[in-house]
């Protein structure tokens, strides 16, 4: 049970760290991937998009299970010894962020007006410069993708519990703590942790909203 302010702070900071890192890593992969899928023409593009959108529903517990298997003693990367560490939690949650960020990026870059894409090309931009410019034009959508990715992982419990193990002082995050408190019958305390979780999410979203509304100069 979380009994001191310092413990609550540690759990909150770990939640922020794990979710934040998963969002950063997932976005670093998902944004370029989504831009390429959205802006390049290739065979099977429709199938790739459908698969990406399908993975929006990828169950956190399944992501946790895969990561658990890979990093368990019997798994192919068991020697790394990262199971039941924040690193394993970050990896499992990154897999949840990638499809969301990729899919929203695809939609965002596709919706940039064709006249912008033509103009950028006509001004002499190379293929890679065109993609970067279109991504910048889709800025609001890309920040939204990060927000939704963060929203998914800050609130998930299945993957964090499975590969983190909810170890006190090591891998306990707000969602797994809420689950534990509920099981122990500490409903009011669990509810309070829920409010903390929402407050953390609110602060992150406010920051991202400011970033989203930043005037492009």
């Amino acid at each position: 049970m979380i009994s001191t302010g310092s413990e609550l702070l540690d759990v909150t900071l770990l939640s922020l760290y794990v979710s934040g890192m998963a969002t950063i890593l997932g976005s670093a992969i998902g944004i370029p991937l989504g831009a390429l899928i959205g802006l390049k023409e290739f065979g099977g593009k429709g199938a790739v998009k459908t698969l990406t959108y399908t993975l929006y529903g990828f169950p956190p517990v399944l992501s946790g299970l895969v990561v658990y298997y890979v990093f368990s003693r019997a798994g192919p990367l068991g020697d790394l010894g990262i199971l039941f560490t924040p690193t394993a939690m970050i990896i499992a949650e990154t897999f949840l962020v990638i499809p969301l960020v990729t899919g929203i990026t695809i939609t965002s870059v596709v919706e940039v007006d064709r006249s912008i894409k033509d103009t950028v090309k006509a001004l002499g931009a190379s293929s890679s410069q065109s993609i970067v410019t279109v991504m910048r034009e889709a800025w609001v959508g890309l920040v939204m993708a990060c927000m939704i990715g963060f929203g998914r992982v800050i609130a998930e419990v299945g993957a964090a519990y499975l590969v983190g193990g909810n170890i006190d002082g090591e891998t306990r995050v707000l969602t797994t703590a809420i689950m534990l408190e509920t099981r122990m019958g500490h409903f009011e305390w669990a509810m309070s942790l829920g409010i903390v979780l929402l407050s953390v999410a609110l602060m992150v979203f406010l920051f991202l909203r400011l970033l989203q509304e930043r005037e492009m100069l």
Binding site: D113, S115, I116, D118, T119, V120, K121, A122, L123, G124, A125, S126, S127, Q129, T133, R136, E137, W139, E215, M216, L217
Partner: protein, 245 residues
């Protein structure tokens, strides 16, 4: 004068719709070539093919005497020698100064040189006081003048103007036409192709003019002949403001 642009039997189909049929003509360096015709005749299609934004369905394109194919590796390098201004002013979601500097930035100019050239251009455009304004907040006329300056700031050898002054008030039209004249005066080897509905503008600015109708080049003639004694009856009717449908 050497040829800057040459189309050899160029056709373009969009699905089953023929936008351009067997177009062949040459534009020499230093020429201001006009393309006039009714809406949907295929004027913009020609410019998009010359700017290598689209590949022709049939035929070939030569820029500066060399064959070039859209979407090829060389196309990117060739396109960098061309500037194009579209009818609808399209600005990027960034400041006026950054919009102007964009063409230079993608060509790898260093920041100091970009700042110097952009400063001079902003002063010339009368937009120095609005350099940090998001370009989307400019008026239509200011936006189009910015788009023209952005297309010409890297000194392209070929400039393509697609209805570049349509929907603007006479003052802004005059300002834009002055920008074009200034661009041509700087270097007599520069080539300009103007697509326009506006016969007065074609008469004011172009040295040679083509009439395109229903995807076909009907007639190409020097300005005087085009307006005063065209060979084709459709040209005479179009110049006279009559319906040629």
């Amino acid at each position: 004068m050497k040829p800057a642009i040459c189309l050899e039997g160029v056709s373009k189909k969009y699905d089953q719709i023929v936008a351009l049929r067997d177009a062949s003509f040459t534009v020499s360096k230093g020429e201001v070539f006009g393309i006039v015709g009714p809406s949907g005749a295929g004027k913009s299609t020609i410019l998009r093919i010359v700017d290598l934004l689209e590949a022709p369905t049939e035929g070939k394109l030569l820029i500066d005497g060399q064959y070039v194919v859209a979407n090829s590796v060389r196309a990117e390098a060739v396109r960098r020698k061309i500037g194009m201004v579209l009818q609808k002013p399209v600005v990027l979601n960034r400041s006026v100064a950054n919009n102007l500097g964009y063409s230079l930035m993608i060509r790898g100019w260093n920041e100091d040189r970009i700042a110097e050239v952009v400063d001079a251009e902003l002063r010339r455009l009368g937009l120095n006081g609005r350099r940090k304004t998001n370009a989307r907040n400019l008026s239509g006329g200011e936006m189009q003048r910015l788009c023209f300056a952005r297309a010409a700031i890297h000194d392209p050898s070929i400039l393509l103007l697609d209805e570049f002054a349509a929907n603007l008030d006479p003052t802004n039209v005059a300002l834009l036409e002055n920008q074009v004249q200034e661009f041509i005066r700087k270097d007599p080897n520069r080539t300009v192709v103007i697509v326009t509905h506006n016969m007065f503008q074609a008469k004011r600015m172009c040295t040679r003019i083509a009439l395109i109708w229903d995807g076909e080049i009907v007639e190409i003639a020097d300005r005087k002949k085009f307006f005063e004694s065209p060979d084709d009856a459709r040209t005479a009717a179009f110049v006279g403001g009559e319906s040629i449908y």
